[in-house]
């Protein structure tokens, strides 16, 4: 039975609409996965040497044991971000003559086939065989490997459970990160040493190999817990519909912008209420902290202003760049309605530009806090801000008219390349090239501040011409309107 189900998954992958595209991406992802596994093996075999070099004269087995819990701790975090919940379009199978337990077993087995489960094996087993086995004997080494595998599976099933739970109730997210954060903080401020704890636990295991039944027990419990949860929730409406009551929201401050304001409000709700755009927005906000990398004191002292201006454009323009790459596609599910509604295309385009202006202004204000490092940073960011609202936003809208692929905004963004295409790469290129082209002649011939001024002044000029740009962008949009609509309708 599991074979048949795997076979169906295989077919659904190859026969999906954009099989060709996703194949190319799978190859890229597959390549990275292989690279990761290969690195893990390489590190695994060199671990003995690395530890001896880095910690000369110390007991490398103790050092090794001290690192294991660290690894599994970060493993939890990484899993939480990248591990996919195994899904099977369950509906057609539920009514067939298949036992529920078989479906769940399939989900569980399928979930275990993931690269991240093999990394710890590749990383730790070589060392266990090469160093621990000669010293403590084969049986101890074997028990040690069993506990490593058990910890891996424990993490695996616990994360699946927490992720499934947090879909139903987002408090699980908060609690999960709070617990991890508490551990990290306790370790960082030396209240408690994860390394010592890890060393104690695993050295005990070496002394008493039968203790490996503990991690095995933990793994089995995590598995059973997950199994029970799935068995209880293998009904169609569960997992999604046990959700809280939704309240409407109103943004009164947008009222004075008329229809454009309504559309901006719509975009804000889209971002707040859907997984993928929400994570895009969150990431743009988090990356504001990139300033600490771009605005290093040494760059300021050495007067590397060109480095700062490009950093500033990137930091303050990230929302436009990343939200803009699917600007219309975010609304692909109801694009028919948008185009048939009582709304001119020009208003629609204008609302997008104003959304960019509004968000950029907020980001500019937030990023002004970097002024405490050096007031000149604020001047540079002002130029970057003018560039973003005047030029970057135009580039984003222009390239958005070339994106014909629908997007499922309910799915999470990590490793979700749905909607990516060749135009995206040209877009990425334009983002880098345009500011350089503006900067270079002035920056080169006069000085960096002339280049920065040029970027700011040109941005401002272009912003003042926004109405004219809107007309042009509307024409570009109308030229490809049917193609966009056709593409979005094809889910």
């Amino acid at each position: 039975m599991i074979r048949t189900l795997l076979n169906h998954q295989w077919k659904s992958f190859w026969r999906s609409r954009n099989a060709g595209k996703s194949l190319a991406l799978q190859i890229v992802i597959g390549f990275f996965t292989l690279y990761l596994l290969f690195s893990a093996i390489a590190v695994g075999f060199m671990l003995q040497k690395l530890l001896t070099n880095f910690f000369p004269g110390q007991d490398i087995i103790k050092i090794f044991c001290g690192f294991i819990l660290y690894y599994f701790m970060s493993d939890v975090l990484i899993r939480f971000m990248i591990q996919d919940l195994p899904t099977l379009t369950i509906q057609p199978y539920l009514v067939q003559n298949i036992r529920r337990s078989q479906l769940i077993r399939f989900l569980n087995v399928r979930s275990m086939i993931t690269a991240i489960n093999f990394v710890p094996l590749f990383l730790f087993i070589p060392f266990t065989i090469m160093v621990i086995a000669p010293k403590y004997g084969g049986i101890t080494a074997f028990a040690f490997i069993i506990s490593i595998v058990s910890f891996t599976l424990f993490n695996h099933f616990v994360i699946l459970y927490v992720k499934r739970k947090s879909i139903i109730n987002s408090w699980w997210y908060v609690i999960f990160f709070a617990v991890i954060g508490a551990f990290a903080a306790a370790d960082y401020f030396h209240f408690f040493s994860l390394r010592d704890a890890s060393a104690v636990v695993f050295i005990k295991m070496l002394a008493m190999p039968f203790l490996c039944v503990l991690p095995v027990g933990m793994a089995i419990m995590a598995f059973i817990n997950n199994y029970r949860f799935l068995l209880a929730n293998l009904y169609l409406e569960d997992i999604v519909s046990k959700s809280r009551k939704k309240e409407g929201a109103e943004y009164t401050f947008l009222h004075r912008f008329g229809n454009t304001g309504e559309l901006i409000g719509l975009d804000i709700k889209l971002i707040l209420r859907n997984k993928r755009p929400r994570s895009v927005a969150m990431i743009s906000l988090l990356l504001l902290f990139y300033g600490f990398i771009f605005y290093k004191p040494q760059y300021i002292q050495e007067g590397k202003w060109y480095f700062l201006i490009f950093g500033a454009i990137f930091i303050t323009g990230l929302f436009i760049i990343s939200y803009g790459q699917f600007l219309f596609a975010w609304q692909s599910a109801h694009f028919d309605g948008m185009m048939a509604g009582n709304l001119s295309v020009r208003t629609y385009i204008k609302s997008k530009l104003q959304l960019f202006t509004g968000v950029s202004s907020v980001i500019f204000l937030l990023s002004s806090l970097y002024g405490f490092l050096n007031w000149k940073i604020v001047v540079i960011q002002l130029a970057a801000y003018l560039y973003n609202i005047g030029i970057q936003s135009i580039i984003a809208v222009y390239f958005a008219t070339f994106s014909y692929k629908a997007i499922d905004i309910g799915r999470s963004a990590t490793f979700n390349y749905q909607g990516m295409s060749a135009e995206r790469w040209v877009y990425a290129l334009a983002i880098y090239v345009v500011p350089i082209v503006i900067y270079l002649p002035f920056g080169w011939l006069i000085n960096a501040w002339a280049g920065i001024t040029a970027i700011g002044v040109l941005g401002l000029t272009s912003y003042l011409l926004q109405d004219w740009w809107t007309d042009i962008l509307t024409k570009c949009f109308l030229k490809r309107k049917y193609k966009i609509l056709d593409g979005f309708r094809e889910k």
């Binding site: 999604v240 519909s241 959700s243 809280r244 009551k245 939704k246 309240e247 409407g248 929201a249 109103e250 229809n259 309504e262 719509l266 709700k269 889209l270 209420r273 859907n274 599910a333 109801h334 694009f335 028919d336 309605g337 185009m339 048939a340 509604g341 009582n342 709304l343 001119s344 295309v345 905004i409 049917y482 609509l485 056709d486 309708r489």
Partner: protein, 231 residues
């Protein structure tokens, strides 16, 4: 009101809509019938300028819908869930549509009151986003969103298919009332011959993109249609 001239739409060589000439007058209720693939939905999409015609044009109030956007203020349509913004609550959706049509919030609330029986208590204040509503309730939201615009031209694609029997009858009653109040031009496609003959003033029977019958509804229309669809 609506004029169709030499309209042709093909998909990979197959003709899906081919209407040489059609004149719809203001205040007519047009029932569009025909088996699957007859071109009903495609015709609706062409009228809303959502797809590009290979040839010909549709004039709404003398203006080509593909060139001017002047038809938008007086045209309302609900074809499928693609017309709903599914991450809004029904109320937010109505306020949004209302706003685009210059109707204030209080105005919309007043309008929604008259829909209480139509919604049957499961749409408003349900604490759900539209994407969490059942298909039938989504359809109710779509239809109400159209009527809220007080349109001069209304397009509904198979409205009876997703509604319960009570709501089907309510919808017919409501459309007739609204039509009587103001001379609304209505297009409805349906597979339900009883309902469609009851509500329409004129029936267009489509087959493979062509309009093969153009009937003004009278007591013989139903049997004439039943004859055509007989197996």
């Amino acid at each position: 009101m609506i004029t169709v001239k030499n309209l042709v739409k093909t998909y990979t060589g197959r003709i899906v809509v081919d209407i040489a000439a059609l004149q719809i007058n203001e205040g007519e209720i047009i029932g569009l019938v025909g088996n699957n693939g007859a071109g009903k939905t495609t015709f609706f999409r062409l009228m809303l300028d959502l797809i590009k015609a290979d040839r010909g044009e549709i004039l709404s109030g003398e203006k080509n819908v593909a060139v001017s956007e002047d038809w938008k203020p007086y045209t309302a349509a609900y074809l499928d869930e693609g017309f709903l913004i599914d991450y809004l609550t029904p109320e937010e959706y109505f306020y949004f549509v209302g706003k685009l049509n210059n109707r204030s919030k209080a105005d919309v609330d007043e309008f929604l009151k008259s829909f209480d029986t139509f919604f049957d208590g499961s749409v408003l204040k349900s604490g759900k986003y539209i994407r969490e509503l059942s298909k039938g309730n989504q359809f109710k939201v779509g239809i109400a969103g159209c009527l809220l615009q007080n349109p001069g031209v209304l397009l509904l694609d198979e409205p009876f298919a997703n509604l319960d029997p009570t709501t089907q009858l309510r919808l017919i009653k409501m459309l007739k009332e609204m039509h009587a109040q103001r001379r609304m031009t209505i297009f409805i496609s349906s597979h339900d011959l009883n309902h469609i003959t009851e509500v329409s003033t004129r029936i267009l029977l489509m087959e493979k993109g062509l309009i093969i019958k153009d009937l003004h509804t009278n007591q013989d229309t139903l049997s004439e249609l039943e004859d055509y669809f007989k197996v």
